[in-house]
Symmetry: C2
């Protein structure tokens, strides 16, 4: 067991401050990772604030982790000291339920272990995330990072990336499909990049006309301003797929009207009550609304490989860990393009 | 053009009274049908009351029509005088859009013509339904009825039947699946019969313990009382498919909790706003909620053939047309097992 420098919130909505976490010994299936970069996800803030309930303090957030292998356990092959690796939202699962067997550990029927605020099976208590010097993770949950992409900007792929990639794959988005990405934040900007790279005709759907230029630069073929009823009417019934990244409850009925018959809108952002949906918005046109959360380890590796081939990373703003509380305020007010990433040297050196 | 005896509402929420409707001449593609039985659907009442807006008066309801061919146009083959036929919710569609080409006339992109309160392309004005002596319908929208089943009890197959059959087919419900049918009314009782006949393990889900006995007699293997939180917890995450026939807005969140990962609940009843749905109820488990409306002509014929083979009809209570207003009151208070059917002799003879 070792003591490792970290940043933690000690109570709901508290500022994050320096804290030392315990890390287990490196066991036979473990990989110890020296953390170089860690992305800042809105979920970090929800957990710090206990917005979803169930937060356990101290909270050490961080599940978009990039680093280099420091040490491997004796059963670990294929990873060696110095390898560039990533860890996302999960660090363990039961490995024997149907979901795990299908490579969908995020839906583990016995409870996936989240990277932070999960149940720590090794030390007891709860898990501590990536706002720390290093982390020790079972080899099955360690991803190989492509070396040819901008490493620091790759951190958000581990959560924002896979969260948008997985539904595009599962609902079989393909070349020529008309795909709408609703909301242009950390998730939305990755949705636009991926849908574009997959060959779809991408429409960025936003309430904010000022986001149009950025949307097109990220890969959108068109921008649809959802507050403009004429524009919405023009696009009515024309979308093969909608990826809804809006992070708060909202009125989904206008978006359902954009779908073609038999098409689906997938929610990846709003883990809270939506405004009342009209049954007729689904019934007329046999439409679906579904949800999706992150993605399995196999699929995450496929996404990272795809990012390597297509040179896809997130648009990020680098910060030092000492500025994390200010960064949280800016995330909450959507004042970031499009993801903060912490340079973890700042934790080790300052 | 001919004048035909019918029953109509002259204004919103008015009682139905005798009325004469105009029927067009029998054109070359037409079939004239002497109506023997007509089911009473809750949609009839919604249209009479203008609950959904857009009702045009006088309203002559009725889209669960069973009768015998009186006369056929010169282009009609395969139907002859005396044949037992049915007409459901649609009497025409464009026939050239993608939906029509795929046999999904109910989703016609140029606007399907409903059996009543649709746009009458022949005489102008709006269409008049089956609460009348006879009807003239394009051959493409006339179904062949199996002669071996109880004809009068077959009328509701044309709406309640296809409305529940179509989603069971589209979402591929098969032998051994655990299927829940939510709500036991006109739609629900057909859902239970069909899911049972398809070999599913059927759970009838209802708020009313007093419906348990009926549910099992109709073919349910189990009854789940949705107000009983212990029972709901036992069934959590166990359903392959849910058919939600509840005809009014309600809280769908507890039902979404019953679904397995990747499973779908299909709404067929509630054409109105639902209570706020929690995004997390979809996201955790990659679940879907979808809608479905009636079914295409080809699929309706397949359902009728299946009913002939498996001797499936609705449970009905027969009435005379003169008692229609009292029947409407009883439908609204759910006091019917499970569908009223009008014996149309009462219109012709009294």
């Amino acid at each position: 067991m070792s003591q490792v420098k970290a940043y933690a919130a000690q109570e709901p909505a508290a500022n994050l401050e320096p804290f030392e976490v315990k890390r287990r010994e490196v066991k036979e299936d473990d990989i110890q990772i020296d953390i170089e970069y860690c992305g800042v996800c809105h979920s970090d803030i929800h957990t710090v604030n206990n917005d979803w309930g169930g937060s356990q303090y101290p909270v050490v957030p961080g599940h978009e982790i990039i680093g280099r292998v420091m040490q491997v356990g004796k059963n670990v092959s294929g990873f060696k000291e110095g390898d560039l690796v990533g860890v996302g939202c999960m660090v363990d699962s039961c490995q024997h339920c149907d979901s795990c067997k299908e490579g969908l550990e995020q839906y583990c029927e016995n409870g996936v272990v989240m990277t932070y605020n999960g149940k720590d099976e090794h030390l007891g208590g709860h898990t501590f995330g990536g706002y720390s010097e290093n982390i020790i993770v079972d080899k099955k949950f360690v991803l190989r990072m492509p070396e040819n992409i901008d490493v620091k900007a790759a951190a958000p792929l581990l959560c924002a990336g896979i969260t948008t990639w997985s539904p595009l794959q599962h609902w079989n988005v393909k070349k020529g499909d008309k795909v709408g990405v609703i909301g242009l934040g950390g998730l939305g900007h990755m949705g636009v990049k991926f849908a574009h790279a997959l060959g779809a005709h991408v429409v960025m759907i936003t309430t904010s006309p000022e986001k149009s230029k950025d949307g097109k630069e990220l890969g959108a073929d068109e921008v649809l301003i959802s507050k403009d009823s004429e524009q919405m009417a023009e696009h009515r019934g024309s979308f093969d797929f909608l990826l809804n990244t809006v992070p708060v409850g909202h009125d989904v009925n206008p978006y359902l009207g954009l779908l073609k018959r038999d098409a689906t809108m997938v929610m990846v952002g709003a883990v809270e009550p939506l405004e009342p949906m009209h049954g007729g918005a689904l019934i007329v046109g046999r439409k679906s609304i579904a949800g999706s959360i992150i993605g399995g380890i196999k699929e995450t590796q496929e996404m990272l490989d795809f990012c390597g081939e297509h040179n896809i990373v997130s648009d990020v703003e680098m910060i030092d860990i000492q500025n994390i509380n200010e960064a949280y305020e800016r995330v909450v007010s959507s004042d970031v393009k499009y993801r903060f990433v912490i340079d973890m040297k700042s934790l080790k050196e300052k």
